[in-house]
């Protein structure tokens, strides 16, 4: 269970107070797949960094699995948007996946098993000895996902992970994430600015307003659990939900201007 309660975040930028997040509250149930979508510049990344315990909120609180967040919580993994910068360029792919496990003091045999499994799961079994920068952008993000999988988190946060990859790769990665989520049963919070992506992936979509950010709407996605790039996207219900999210985001944008 992940709870965000009355969260607000203001920055002091050269004497000027910037209210990045106004007042945001929502819950994510155990094992749920929730997408957070909002207009650009609405503080999505700030929100995620607060939940990840990387940024202290100005007020309000975040509770992950019954514990108040005041630093990176146990059993929580993050996949960052900047895959190129979140991987260690001096470590090979398998060592990148392995490092957090080493830090956790896990035994060698266990680590090797988890790393192999995770790389298999993202389809990178053959690339384990490569350096991240030898791989394409999509493959680099797969490494980052493998690292998160091997870490065996109970909560997984993803910050616009596919924003910087091409459309084809993006579709593949979306399906990969769905299958990973279904197999691991993690609680997944997925931040994106892409409306289609949020509807296609999530069980619920939390829509944010422009900054100062609040929750504009919380929409359940009642599409069947088995999703398919072709069938789901041509489902009339998909189009309908997509329209709803789109309208809400447009409204949020207009309120700002």
């Amino acid at each position: 269970m992940l709870t965000v309660k009355g969260l607000s975040k203001t920055y002091d930028a050269k004497g000027r107070r910037v209210e990045a997040i106004g007042d945001v509250s929502f819950d994510v149930a155990d094992g749920e797949f929730v997408c957070v979508v909002g207009p650009s510049g609405c503080g999505k990344t700030t929100l995620l960094r607060c939940i990840a315990g990387l940024l202290p909120p100005t007020s309000g609180e975040i509770v992950v699995e019954g514990r108040k967040v005041d630093g990176p919580p146990d059993g929580l993994a993050v996949v960052f948007q900047e895959y190129g910068r979140s991987l260690f360029p001096w470590l090979r792919v398998r060592d990148n996946v392995d490092l957090p496990l080493r830090a956790a003091g896990m035994g060698k045999a266990k680590r090797r098993e988890l790393v192999t499994e995770a790389l298999d799961a993202v389809g990178l079994a053959d690339a384990h000895a490569a350096y991240p920068w030898q791989l394409s952008g999509g493959m680099q993000q797969r490494v980052a996902i493998a690292r998160a999988i091997a870490y065996q988190p109970r909560v997984l946060l993803m910050d616009e992970p596919f924003a910087a990859v091409d459309a084809q790769t993006r579709a593949d990665l979306e399906d990969l994430i769905r299958s990973v989520w279904q197999r691991l049963g993690v609680t997944l919070l997925f931040v994106t600015h892409d409306i289609d992506e949020s509807v296609y992936l999530g069980q619920r979509v939390v829509m944010l307003s422009s900054s100062p950010t609040t929750v504009a709407e919380d929409l359940a996605i009642d599409l069947p659990a088995a999703r398919d790039q072709l069938a789901t996207r041509s489902d009339p219900r998909f189009t309908e939900l997509r329209g709803q999210v789109y309208a809400q985001i447009q409204k949020a944008k207009q309120e700002r201007t």
Partner: protein
Amino acid sequence: MIKRILLAVTMPVVLLAVWWFASAGSTDFYFPPLRRILETFPETWFGPRMVDDVLPSLARLAIGYAAALCVGIALGMLIGANRTLRAVVEPLLEFLRAVPPPVLVPILMLMAGIGDLMKVLVIVSGCLWPILLNTVEGVRAVDEVLTDTCRSYRIRGRLRVWHLMVRSASPQIVAGARQALSIGIILMVISEMFAASSGIGFTVIQFKDGFRIPQMWSGVLLLGLLGVLLALLFRLVERRVLGWYHGIRAVQKER
């Protein structure tokens, strides 16, 4: 490929040949024929002087350089990671770095005499600054996303220092280490020229004072050769340590 090797080899061969033939009939006392210099080289340096002079010089250089690397990187990590400390010591470090290292020889002679300790200290105190200041720069430039990654995945302590800070800063550290190496060689020679009873620098000056000109030339050659060999060795180590960095640069260039 063959053409490239030919091109690379031609010039040095031509230069050596010019020297060889131009000096062949030389009767100038100060410019003996290259043949004489090369003849004296093995008898001068491969005998007892190898053990008495060459190796001790190199050992002092190695010890001083290694100590400067350890101290410079450790202090650099500390200063680079702490913003206030950095602001306090930065101008001071800039000043200390700007002092031409050879002037440290007379000071350290006062403090530590003219033994091995003085020479090692001279090398340490000259090599330290470029390594230290470059490490500070490198640690400052550690990527925030990578820092966040370490926090999220609870990579701490030794693993964090090594994999986040040292490795991130390694391109800058290596650049500093390269500057330090050439300063180290200079200081190795100068500390021995100033006051010593052994060492390459000492021996070369003795040859000079005794007007044993071919031997002196062979000493100049030896120092040059050492400089080149150490530079090659450095490049080998760099290729290993910074393989990833050059890889990234090559990939970026292609795009």
